[in-house]
Subunit: 111 residues, 2 copies
């Protein structure tokens, strides 16, 4: 979601919210606008560290958002506009999704 | 990486290896064959719980592999053929990658 696609995260520990989803074929323009708005909003959230996202042509995608703490993940979860958009997503845009909240313990990069 | 794209994971806690990468434009057939072979191998590993993967048209991708323990993540890391393929990936296929190892603490799904 940065210029390069990679989140610039600090040294662990921190938290990852792994959101795996399969889109239906509906509402592409609305979905894209909502995704952009959510990314704009999350960047203003306390403790947000970055996000990464990829989606296959067939509609299966993974977004990982990084936060400094569980407390700030919950704060984002309770954000009014985010909650409303999530409900719309459940009704209109996703066939299925999985959310996993995980504590990042170690990290490295390459090549 | 299942029929639906979603990993069927048990109740937390378990571990996630989040691999974010940007492919270069080279070696598509070799890369695809190696990715398929690695998926075949990892399914035989002790403690492997499943994997999910998505890649954008522009070459940015996220793969998340789930394991039951850090011990079995390290065992897979030390697997001879996997290690050789990783080294080839560093030389030939990736502009950049990030690996984050995280403990999944809670999970839910929808809609």
């Amino acid at each position: 979601m940065s210029d390069t696609g990679f989140a610039k995260t600090p040294k662990p520990p921190y938290y990852a919210v792994i959101f795996s989803s399969r889109r239906n074929r509906h509402g592409e323009a609305d979905y894209a606008a909502a995704a952009e708005r959510m990314f704009e909003l999350v960047q203003q959230q306390p403790g947000f560290l970055g996000a990464e996202s990829a989606r296959d042509d067939d509609g299966f995608g993974i977004t990982v958002a990084y936060f400094d703490s569980e407390e700030n993940i919950k704060r984002w979860r309770n954000h009014t506009e985010h909650a409303a958009t999530r409900e719309r997503g459940k009704r209109e845009w996703y066939e299925h999704f999985e959310v996993r909240v995980a504590k990042v313990e170690r990290a490295y990069n390459g090549p």
